[in-house]
C-alpha cells in the first residue's frame, strides 16, 4: 500500500498549500466516493478539522440517500456545509429533458458560478481525477479560471515540482485538484485502508446484481451490472474491467465534456 501512502502525502501537501495561500477557500463535495476521499484527506491534513466550507451544488435531482448521507456526516464531522442552487433555472423548469448539456450547464456549471459569485471564493478544491476523462488528464494541480469561469487550456501556466500557482489577478479564481494522480482503483484502495464511510447502498450490489460506479443526478446516472458486495470485490472487478468509469454518465457522450469543462464545469 506504499503507493497509496505516496498519493496521500502528495494530496495532503496540496491541501495545505491551498489552505496557506488562499484566504477564501471552499471544497466541493458531491458525496460521491472521490470528493468524500478528498474530505477525508482534509481531515488528515488538518488533524480532524476541516478549516474551510464544503460546497454542494444541489441540482435537486440527486439520489435521496445522498442528501441524507451529506447531512449526517456534516453533523458528525462538524462540517461547515454550504449548499448552492440555481433556483432561477429550476423555477423555469430546467431538467435533463431540455438537453443534457443544457441541464448540466444550468444546474451545475451555472449553479457553481452563482455560488462563487455570492461567496467570493478565490480557491475551490475539487476531487477530479486524470483518469476520468481525457480533458481532466490535461489539468494542472492548481488551475486558473478567468472572470467567466472559463478554462484556457491552450495557455496553462507552468507547474514545476511542488511549486504551484498561488497568485492570481483580482476577479479570477484557482481550481485546486489534489486527486489528479489518483485512479478509480486507488480511491477504493484508500477507502478500504482508512475505513472511510461511503454510500455503500449505492456503490455496492445489494442483491440486485447491479451497483453505481459513479454517482450523479438520478435521471442521468445509471447503475452498472455488478455483483461486488464489498470494497475488495469492487477493486477486483475494476482491475479486470475495461469499461470506462463514467460510461453511466450521459453528459460525457461525444465532445460534451470538453465543452462543459472549458466553460467551467467541474
Amino acid at each position: 500500500m506504499k503507493h497509496i501512502r505516496q498519493l496521500e502525502d502528495q494530496s495532503i501537501y496540496i491541501l495545505r498549500e491551498a489552505y496557506k495561500n488562499f484566504d477564501n477557500l471552499g471544497m466541493l463535495w458531491s458525496m460521491g466516493k472521490d470528493s468524500t476521499v478528498l474530505l477525508w484527506l482534509a481531515r488528515k491534513a488538518f488533524f480532524g478539522h476541516v478549516p474551510f466550507p464544503l460546497l454542494h451544488v444541489d441540482t435537486s435531482y440527486k439520489i435521496p440517500e445522498m442528501i441524507e448521507y451529506r447531512d449526517r456526516l456534516a453533523r458528525e464531522w462538524r462540517l461547515n456545509l454550504v449548499v448552492g442552487q440555481n433556483k432561477k433555472a429550476l423555477a423555469e423548469g430546467m431538467n435533463h429533458e431540455k438537453g443534457r448539456i443544457a441541464c448540466c450547464t444550468a444546474l451545475k456549471t451555472e449553479g457553481l458560478k452563482l455560488l462563487l459569485e455570492e461567496k467570493g471564493y478565490t480557491g475551490i478544491i475539487l476531487g477530479v481525477r486524470s483518469d476520468e476523462d481525457a480533458t481532466r488528464a490535461k489539468e494542472r494541480y492548481f488551475s486558473p479560471r478567468d472572470k467567466n469561469n472559463d478554462w484556457d487550456f491552450r495557455d496553462q501556466p507552468p507547474e514545476l515540482w511542488d511549486q504551484y500557482k498561488i497568485s492570481f489577478p483580482p476577479g479570477t479564481h484557482i481550481r485546486i485538484h489534489p486527486l489528479l494522480d489518483w485512479t478509480e482503483i486507488n480511491i477504493w484502495e484508500y477507502i478500504k485502508l482508512e475505513n472511510i464511510p461511503f454510500l455503500d447502498h449505492l456503490y455496492l450490489d445489494q442483491g440486485t446484481g447491479q451497483r453505481y460506479r459513479s454517482l450523479g443526478c438520478a435521471p442521468c446516472t445509471s447503475p452498472i451490472k455488478s455483483t461486488s458486495k464489498n470494497v475488495d470485490e469492487v477493486i477486483i472487478e475494476l482491475r479486470n474491467s475495461k469499461v470506462a468509469e463514467r460510461a453511466g454518465r450521459a453528459q460525457d457522450e461525444g465532445r460534451g465534456m470538453e465543452q462543459l469543462r472549458k466553460d467551467g464545469y467541474m
Binding site: 503507493h3 480532524g48 486524470s130 480533458t135 507552468p158 514545476l160 494522480d181 477486483i236 469499461v243 470538453e258
Partner: protein
Amino acid sequence: MAIDTAIQERMNIVIVGHVDHGKSTLLGRLYADTGTLPEGKIEKIQAICRQQGKEFEYAFLFDAFLEEQQQGITIDTARTFFTWGDRQYIIIDAPGHKEFLKNMVSGAARAEAALLIIDALEGVRDQSKRHGLLLSMLGVKQVTVVVNKMDLVNYREDTFQAIEKEYREFLTQLNVVPQYIIPASAKQGINITQVSPETPWYTGPSVLDSLAHFHLETAESEQALRFPLQDVYKFDARRILVGRLTAGKLKIGDRLVFSPTNKSASVQSIEAFNVDPPPTQAMAGQSVGITLDEQIFVERGHIATHEETRPLVSTQIRANLFWLGNQPLEIGRTYTLRLATREAPCEIAAIHRIVDANNLDDRHTQSMVQRNEVADITLRTKSPLAFDLYANFETTGRFVLVDNYDVAGGGIITELVADEQEDFRTEARERDSAWVKGDVGAEDRSLHYGHRAAVVLLTGPDITAKSFLARKLETVLVAEGRHAYLLAAENLHRGLDADLHDLKPEEMVRRFGEVVRLLTDTGSLVITTTNAFPQATKGIVKTVQTLANPIPVITVHMAKNQDGPQPDRDLIFAGPEDFEVCTHQILETLKKKGILAEPQGSQAAVQFSI
C-alpha cells in the same frame, strides 16, 4: 495480461522529443498493444475520424482537445495510467512543439524517468537536444532513448548507429547515461511490446520491457534531514508544525535547528489523524505534523535539519536557470523566488552565459534571457536564504522564479556566492549554537513584557534628528510599560571599544552588533541609530540584521527631503516631520509585525508571534 495483480508501486514516466517524432503515437501503441485501453476507446476515436474524414492515428487516443486532433499536435501534457506487472505507471505525454515548452517542462518536472523519442529519418533535432538538457536540469536522471520511425529507413542498422552515437555523445556532456537506446516503429508496432524480427541486429529489450528497468528513487531518506516548514497550525491548543520531509528522517526527541534563523528545539511528538498508535518517526516524502518541546518562533519557509548537517545560507547564489516567461528575464529586475516553501524577493545580479543546447561549450553572454532559453546566472535575495547545492539535495537545491502571477522559470543551484556578511553569519551561527540559556525563555519574557524583543534602527544623513526621534520613541514605549532601551553607540567608544582607538571601524560595527544582540536576549526593544558610524551606514544595517538574526530589525530612514532615491527601509520619513506622527507610525509598524501586543490585550493577544 497482468492486470489482476495488486499494484505494489507507482512511477511517473514522461515521453519527450522533437515535434512530430511520434511521442503520442508511441503512447497510443503501447496502450493498444498491451490491451490496456478502455473498451470502445479505439472505436470512439475511429468514429470521430470517419466523421471528420481523416485517417485514424494512435496519437488521437490521448490528444484530447478538438484543436489538438485537428492540428495533429499535442498542446498540453496528458497524464495517462498504465499498469504493467506490479507497477502502476503514470505516463506523461509532453508536447514537442517549441511553443509548448512550458507544458513539456510541467510534465517532465513530475517524472522519475523519461522516454526520449528521436525520428530515425529526421535524426537529432533542436528539441531533441533541448529536451535532453531540460531533463537533466529537472532532475530526471533515468532516460531511455527510442529511435522511432525505423520503418522509414528500412530498419537500417547504420542509420540507427549514427543517431545513437551522436545522441550518446550529447548526453555524456550532461552527465546522463541512457539506460537503453531502442530502434522502433510505433506506427508499425515494431519493438514496442516485444522485440521484432525487423531488427535482427538489435539485442536489447522492447520499449515495454525497458520500463521495468527504471528504478524507483528512494535514496532521499538515506540523506541528511531536510524538513521545510509549510505552515504552523494551532488546532486544539496544540501548536503543530507541518510540512513534507524532502530528505532524511526525523524521530521524537531529535534536536532540530531551523535555518536561516538558527533557532533550535526538540521534537516532542509526531501528530497524525486516524493513526493508532501515533507515529514516532517520519521519512522523506511524508507530509507530517510535529510539536516541539519549546515554543520558539518559526514560520513557513524555515528549513529544519539536524544540528551538524545544516543547509547553506547566503544572499547570493549561482544557478542554471530555464526561462519560460512571456517577458525576458532581465538584470536588475525584481522577481519572487520560491525555494521549497520559502518565498523571497530577489534580483538578477549577473547573467554569465546563455546555454545553447546545440553547442554546450558556447560561452556567449547577453543582458537578458529570452523565453525558452537556459542561462547560467547569479541571483541576489534581499534577506538570507537557506538552500543546498542541487548536486547534494534535489528539492532544497532548486527554485522557481515567479513573474507577474505565474511561475516563469526554474533553476538548480550550482554554487554559494559568498556575500560580505558571510563571516558575521558564521560568527552568529557558532555563537548561537553554543549559547548558554537560563530557565527563562524568550516566550516567558514576551508574555510578561507584552512584546517580543526587536531592534528599531534609525538611519539617515546628519541633522535629521534621528537621536531626537529615538529618545522620543524610548520615552513613549517605557511610558506604555514596555521594556525599551536607547542604545547610543557613542557609549561604546570609551569603554568596550577603548582598545580600538577608532582605527578599526569594521570591528566597531561588529561589537555594536553583538551588544544589540545581547540586549535583545533580555527581551528588550532596542532603539538605536547609525549616528556613531557616519561612514558605514549601508554595511551597518546588514551587519546588525545578521548578528541579531532572527530578532526583527525595524529600519527607519530619515531623509533630508523627498527627492532622489531612498534606501530600502521599513519606514521612510522625509524633510521636516511631525515627530508625534513619526512615533505613532513606528508603534503601528511594531504592532503590524506582531512585535507589540495590544496594551489591553488578553492572553490570546499576547501569543502574537508564536
